[in-house]
Subunit: 282 residues, 2 copies
Amino acid sequence: MSATPIRTEAPATDPSSAPHPFDEAIRLEALADGRFRGATHAGFWNQVGPFGGITAAVMLNSVMLRPERLGDPLSLTVNFAGPVREGGFSVEPRLLRSNRSSQHWAIELVQGPQRELAASALLVSAVRRDTFALTEATPPPAPPAAECARTRHRSNVTWLDRYDMRYLRGRPLHENEDSVTHLWVADLPERPLDFASLAAICDVFFPRLYLRRPKFVPIGTVSLNVYFHQPAATLARNGARHLLASAQGRVASAGFFDQEGQIWSDARELLATTHQIVWFRE
Amino acid sequence: MSATPIRTEAPATDPSSAPHPFDEAIRLEALADGRFRGATHAGFWNQVGPFGGITAAVMLNSVMLRPERLGDPLSLTVNFAGPVREGGFSVEPRLLRSNRSSQHWAIELVQGPQRELAASALLVSAVRRDTFALTEATPPPAPPAAECARTRHRSNVTWLDRYDMRYLRGRPLHENEDSVTHLWVADLPERPLDFASLAAICDVFFPRLYLRRPKFVPIGTVSLNVYFHQPAATLARNGARHLLASAQGRVASAGFFDQEGQIWSDARELLATTHQIVWFRE
């Protein structure tokens, strides 16, 4: 036997068998009464709470996990009532009404012994049909994602490391002429697109105010709205390829500013339109 | 006495003392437990139920009437779960969370002994503050409302008679090159603007699909979203003057189409941005 310390190799693991951080973050444990237990994830932390997009994804996921859920998500509104604190939470989807081909859900995310409400949401799911289709919006001009460089950031918030973002237009904390932003975005590491990850990606944009003023101020999304325009099969077809995203603010006034955004597939299908209204400190 | 039948004059009434049809339609009677009783109004009828805008206004009004309500409406999402039937209904606002300067509300509109849900809503109210302000959107080009002719309609739905609409761009049931619509709009008879009437006006646009196809098909708004960008004083300043409204659809796909809209004051302040997603039958 040699006196040399033996350097044990870590057991060879298949990286594909390790859970993806996004799946870890939206993981929910079903409780007896249709509610779910989840927990915040250190990898999706923002300044004073989780990335809003991951909270939206967790709330959407609770409906996806309910066995009586009908069709695909069509419309999602998440109102952020207060910061989600680090640790466990309860996600409580309630089926308000079920029609022949659509359902109306309300979802609450509560924490602590006082059951403090952190976020409330409304979701409509619907069976999508093959119909007349027309896209009036146009995707932003962009070279293929593979030809664009990943944008590096100098922030200590962890959620930014969960996305490969390749900014094409819009420089934050500068006085741009307008707030228009274009970027390629994908989960990091790569992950096939689904409704939960698409909902989260609707919230990846820099705050619109930062595109018009070179001044950092605290901000917080109050309400996030997402309309899903394609069935699950179209999302699956995109796989893990980058999405082309654009956003613009229309107005800042009396303590709040807005944002409108569009999320396009790699094949230039309009997957989602999204809107939010955001509080800011002067 | 003469045998000639006496033609009695109707008693002279002050027209300003008669309730405005909009106020009649959103009138709510407070019940003991924070709920309200209201009823549909024949003057705001659409094809198979009330005009969606008046339902949104009634739900917003229920929060305005709650004594603990804080600040002005900031964000309103109304999900239409099924047709509102003619007759009475119960509007049930629930305060989910009250913060220092904002509140989160959920509202349900239910009907009948089975308490069937017709619409559910989320509303955020907030105390508005004087802050940095910037409007990046631009109002549509338009001559003064007084120089534009009122658009006559040939429809038997009654709610269209509750608005003075002066269309400037966008001809319904024609194959327009795009779905962009511009119009002047005001309550008829005239009525000073408030949050309830502004919410209703967010839903006055022709369905976007009708701007791209010369084909009438049944449609129904599934979810309506409104962001209010100005405090009550700005709305009051507009008084009964016409509002300048614009709308555009981005996409129709798999049984649903969307709409984005902006509502500007006569003085060209952006009062509200609005979004909806609408079901259509092929």
